[in-house]
Amino acid sequence: MSKTSNINRVDGFAKVTGSATYSAEYKADGVVYACLVGSTIAKGRIKSIDTKKAEWAPGVLAVITHLNVDKPSGYQKPKDKRNFGQSLQIFKDDSVLYYDQPIALVIADTFERMQYAASLIKADYLKEEHSTELHKAADKERKIDTDKGNDYHRGEHDGYKNAEVILETEYTIPTEVHNPMELANIIAKWDGNKPILYTKSQGVEGTRKSVAGVFDVPVENVEVHSEYIGGAFGMGLHTWPYEIAALIGSKKLNRPVKLVLHREQMFTNVGFRPYTIQKMGLGATKEGKLTGLTHEAVAMTSSYEDFMEGTVNMSRFIYNCSNVSTRYRIVPLDTCTPIWMRGPGEATGSFALESAMDEMAYKLNLDPIEFRKRNYAEKDLEQNKPWSSKFLLECYEAGMERIGWKNRKNEPGLLKEGNWLVGYGMGTGTFGCYRSPTSVKAKFLANGDLVLQCSVNDMGPGTATMMTAIGAEVIGLPSENVIIEMGKSGLPKGPTQGGSATTSSVGSAVHDSCNLLLSKVIELASKNVALKGIPITDLTFENGVIFSKKDKSKSITFASLLSSNKLEDFEVENLSKAAEEAKKYSIYSFSVHFVKVLVNPNLGKIRLAHVVSCADIGTVINQKTSAGQMFGGAVGGIGMGLMEALEIDHRFGRPINNNFADYHVPVNADIEKQEVFFVNKKDPISNPMGTKGLGETALVGMAPAIANAVFNATGKRVRDLPITLDKIIETVKV
């Protein structure tokens, strides 16, 4: 274990003491307060909108609607399809595409006056029939018009149908919302024609591009600050209409405008995990060899934008099966566009796949892990490539040991603790390891401190801590001497934080830049009179001194090297990319979640007595932050399994439980014992550190583990999430 593998979060002190500055907390001279007023219908047109009372209310500076807006010039240009969320051009016209769609922006001198004025706005609508229920709109399903949207077939189409043992099942997951603690928020201002945003974004560079497109200004003109993020889970992956609204307001008033969404608006205006219906077909021999696997998903999108995610992808490669078919269809509904939510797609898909694998194991009378082992994929059959590394079997073993799998009975309902039925279940997760080109500047200061700069954000996983650890490790410095500057434009370009790719991308770039910095410092030193004649290969750098390895008396301090060269500091900037070699391999992280549940069948109560999450994520850079991510991801999966569902009253097309009292996420008391385990073996291919990515796979596979454990305890198979108590108790029909 290296010296840096367990350092504390470098921003922990700032976060817990409140000195960390989040977007809406920046001081901006003359800032005024804005909010969005939403539509009260789900589809139609605005017949009239009465803004007079609001305009006359005390302190109001502007009320902007589609009737008086100065439309951003980019509205005329063709839309960039990649900018999800931007297809809704705010205040463009009188159309209403979903409930709570912003129809007016109110700006006032104080927060309270703004809120009051907003309550005075009333609109009349020409209502049209809306459609918000996936089950009732299935006839509108269609393929998505991109390569990724194509059906996938390996071997025989729907080959499972010819098997000795066949399973055909359907699974449903409801809409789930990200809803981080920190609300979506922005302070927008303009410097001439240069927009400046303090905003909640998972990708500074992406936000710059989106804003540049909407306002038709050069990307370099857009300044974005997003240094601290209070959680995002995917909702910060794209630029949303509220951000554009704040910029429109600020431009009109020529003042900084602060806009923070209401909690209710977080349920309607910034994306969600889409409601998805999945059909599984599994075929196997009586001996438990999978011979066919078909995975179909029908998922919602909005009426104005196509959205898809990797729901069916895991089924193509995770098991050794020669006949695989996958299909993905979308159904447009009258809602905001979905956006990737932690463990996107794969989390949804694994619920269906890993539930079906469990169901098939029971059909075959096999232990679910034995069934998986009999279908273990030695290579990636989808890409026909070897794995870069795969320690999934080690995850199975570690989890079985910790959860006490040997106590499990394959027949449901046999185990009891007091009056509680006991069940064990597991579910496999996986997520691809990606690496984006990333630039990092590494700079030595005269005092020996190392500054690392990158525009990448840290939404909570500990990116700054990871950068510190890798920089300190490569340079051989104490981690206290590393200073991180990140999360804003103008710094060397980093990737969007998503897809578990940050450590692989940014960590590698830190690694490469720091190595380059070392070699450049040594090169410079070798030219210095103090070290004249010593070959570069004999020089090394430690604790602020460059010296000859053979003769330590021949040395120069870094500080004198700088002064003798009349330099104040010394820096390098380097663009780091994945090696060509990596393309020959299939690189994935793997996880397995194990759950022991206690169920009271009379009350439907499910207790999570023990939860164990094991993962093969390559090298673990930091034990603490990795464990934190794994705990958090697993809890997210528990929410998905047991509680989370955005309920819509389809008569009105409106959400019903758009608050934290009614939309439940787990609390401490829900999980009685939880542990995590990492294999922690370096991947030889992925990147210089050998990491593979953790954030997403931490959640993938938890929901089916719970469903499988509940079945093992009760004999009840719940195929529609969440597993609420009414699905466990016998319901009397009235």
């Binding site: 207790r607 409106r654 439980n657 009397v732």
Partner: protein, 326 residues
Amino acid sequence: MKNFQIIKALSASSAVTGKAKDNSSMFIAGGTNLVDLMKKNVVAPDKLVDINGLDLKKIEFLKGKVSIGALAKNSQVAEDSSIKEKHPLLALALAAGASQQIRHMATVGGNMLQRTRCSYFYNTDMPCNKRVPKSGCGAIGGSNRMSAIFGASDSCIAVHPSDMCVALAALDATVLVEGPKGKRQINFTDFHRLPGNTPEKDNTLDSRELITSVEIPDHNFTKNVHYLKVRDRTSYAFALVSVAVALDLKNNVIENARLAMGGVAHKPWRLTETEEFLKGKTVSEELFRQAANLSMKGARGYGENDFKLTLGANAITEALTIAASK
């Protein structure tokens, strides 16, 4: 939020007088529900009468009863050692409600006056007869997983969300109030009302009256008691169904029983018929199952909440079993 005035009352009578002057004024104590309702524009009083300064915070053990001041905090009552000893059912019910932070703020009187958690009541874009009389009931035919199975009407199927009140209903408590016409007492079970055609009225308190205290008569329910709360997560969630049980057991024979349910009606649902049925009978699984079935007589579901019929019966059986085994 619209502008409002706030005045601080120095005595109960001045609070009552201060409020009486202005029809749209409201009392505010802990504010754990009222402030939310104001922020969401569900209620919009012109004036708030802050009663936190009144001397109504004491818990006093008097002859034959305990008197709990209306401004006693929920956590204060739940953690009071004499309450725990003499009225354990009340302590259990209080501890099951909300979160510790909210219990530190919420008062006994405020807890009684909290509004329903029905989603349609909170969402001002939706129909709700309780919020806007004659606007319709969104929950009927809509999302009604939390809704009532007893005593509802065509106007309203909302439930009262309190845990504390379920225990107080079971324990034959009395509510003491003060109004412009003087003081009066209300039986706890008569305090909250069924919705009928006027669901906008949650209770029988006159709008100008102030709750000053709650009294619980002494009783023998100190051992075989249980408050069972069934909810969607282990903490910080409202009851789908809750059951308050108090048994006075001698040699396994039920001398006396008290039973009330929460999360099932517009008011805490006292089960007097079941209490009578249990009286004098010997504890058994079969007896409790019969009691549960009897208790569910007249219950009806509205779709999403149909499961409460089974859950309610099972919860009563479970709560009786746990109470009897203590």
